[in-house]
């Protein structure tokens, strides 16, 4: 029972972690909460269904499902990255020098817009993600993990590792770290800050999109409003780990997933969504810098 809850919690936690990366990267550079990030995840889930339906009607999904699913994920990431790029360009870039409230409100506007835009074009009812992964599950020590759960955990781990290597080892990653430390200094040493910010949004949106497809496949149902709650939880995960800190977001996501899973199993399932908020409140009040973060003095 406990082990089973741990597996379920780890699966959801990995998804939170992947979404949280987008929040934390943007916050690290621009110091602003990208409120529309959850909606990118929601769009990812919808695009997943749309592209998979496309492959199903062309017959590819029937003959080679893994290939069709992989192509779906790739196309979804491509499209959502384009959304992330466009949103930053339209709604955030003109406000970079504006008071801090402005981009946040602009982001809330984008979030409302995307939610309703999907509701109008795709309908307000739940969409079903075709279940083709089968019931194959792996048993150990009395607990079972479905193949999809293992895929989610494995793929999330791979993405997090990939991102970590990208940030640590590549030139662009180095430029991103420099920009996060000091934007003006970074531009003085010849880093194209606008480009780096675009890259950050593209990567963040791509990760959220992948998380969206995986969750759509995991829960089987998708709704235009799923982005809001997932976004808040992922943000909680980012804060829990220390916002702006990439390994922190990964840790925070997994911890949050586990707490939620154990909480709904042993305390009360009705209040499942409250746990994230309560943890968020407690963390912000006791240690606002998060588990792995360092506190920053305010610049005068």
């Amino acid at each position: 029972m406990l082990l089973q809850q741990l597996i379920n919690g780890l699966t959801v936690g990995c998804v939170y972690a992947v979404i949280a990366l987008g929040y934390t990267m943007v916050y690290g550079i621009l110091e602003f909460i990208n409120f529309a990030h959850g909606e990118i995840y929601m769009l990812g889930a919808y695009f997943g269904i749309i592209f998979l339906a496309l492959f199903t009607s062309s017959g590819l999904a029937a003959s080679n499902f893994p290939l069709a699913f992989a192509l779906t994920v790739l196309l979804t990431i491509l499209f959502c990255s384009a959304y992330g790029f466009t949103i930053e360009k339209i709604a955030y870039r003109p406000l970079r020098k504006a008071p801090r409230l402005s981009p946040l409100i602009s982001a809330i506007g984008i979030s409302i817009f995307l939610q309703n835009y999907v509701m109008i074009t795709q309908g307000a009812t739940d969409k079903v993600f075709p279940q083709k992964f089968g019931d194959a599950s792996f048993n150990f020590l009395g607990a079972s993990a479905t193949s999809l759960q293992l895929i989610i955990i494995f793929a999330s781990g791979l993405m997090m590792l990939g991102l970590h290597l990208f940030i640590r080892k590549t030139r662009t990653g180095k430029a991103m770290r420099a920009t996060a430390q000091d934007m003006t200094m970074a531009s003085l040493v010849g880093i194209n800050v606008d480009r780096i910010i675009s890259v950050t949004f593209i990567i963040g949106a791509g990760l959220a999109a992948a998380a969206g497809v995986m969750v759509a496949a995991y829960y089987g149902l998708v709704n235009y409003s799923i982005g809001y709650v997932a976004g808040i939880k992922a943000f909680t995960a980012a804060v829990l780990g220390g916002i702006g800190n990439i390994p922190g977001a990964m840790l925070g996501g997994v911890v949050l997933g586990l707490i939620e899973s154990l909480g709904s199993a042993y305390v009360s399932a009705e209040y499942k969504d409250v746990y994230a908020f309560i943890i968020l409140l407690i963390i912000l009040l006791i240690k606002p810098s998060g588990l792995l973060g360092t506190s920053v003095e305010e610049k005068v």
Binding site: S102, L104, I105, I108, S111, F113, N116, F277, L281
Partner: protein
Amino acid sequence: MKRFLHSPVASALCAALLFLPLKDLKSAVILFVFVLAGISAAPYIRKLKIPQIPFKASGLSGFLPVLTITIFALLPFALKDYYLDVLIMFGIYALLALGLNVIVGFTGQLNLGFAAFYAIGAYTYALLNTRLGLGFWPSLPIAACFASLSGLVLGVPALRLKGDYLAIVTLGFGEIVRIVLNNWDTFTKGPNGIAGIEPPYIAGFSLGKLQYYYYLVFMVVIAAVFVIRRIEFSKTGRAWLAIKENEIAASTMGIDTTAYKLYAFAFGTFWAGIAGTLFAAKMQFVSPESFTFMESVLILSMVILGGIGNVYGSILGAFILVIMPELLRDAQLYRMLILGLCLVVLMIFRPQGLIGAKDASAGR
């Protein structure tokens, strides 16, 4: 190539392509045309000068406020019940926007969970009335003070946080309140809501009729404007403004920033409690559905639309966002879509709001 990428055609094409998988080709082409037209017109919109309506600092005197009050006082004689109903909702939202404006507009503390205090006010009256049989008039101050008290309880720990974090904590608080109201069946009757709440009585005479209720709400709004304007230009109001402009500078000038931020929280949420009570007494029914995050966003939009930090702006914002959907009944589906778009466009082209002060440094 590079010049093409920066042209409006490229942006419109981009929007249309991204939209395509969600709907058919025809809508994508329509979107292309609209975005192209919008972006091409943008430079002209930016240059458009909307005259600022001058308001005397002294409160309700002056030609325009008196005229507005007269018109609104005479409206019940001219309007059908349905429109009166809409105007009562406008009054309740105006109170909410005025209250939130104290927190966001005067003091610069973003609050994304304002609907929670509205809910606390409404549920306090609903529970006092249906369980203890307490009437409207004794309940009104209790509900307002209770909302104010919960504002303080949230404020004491949360106001140690800055801008964005505060926004998220208040958002979390709003969700917790809504989820608890929804799940605590034995006390709040959960999602079914509480029915059979009494309208206010004066000496045994019911104010439940729309005309009477309209005047009650109308009077409360005028009282709110009067009180809030007085406070805005008092020592407290100046301290709030100083905190909004620059918190560190304010504290070096000897302003107890934490205390004044708490005043703002308690004072702003007080009006939410009153608005909640008026709402519960009007509907004679409350359920958690009326107090979602979208409600908080709607109230915030009213404050921003009219002009952050401007009392009359908040009322104008409430008026536009309550009346508009009624005028655009056919476009009901697109209401929130347009609202979202408006927020983005407003922030880029007119961050000070329709009649807001020129200086929009809220949150800095």
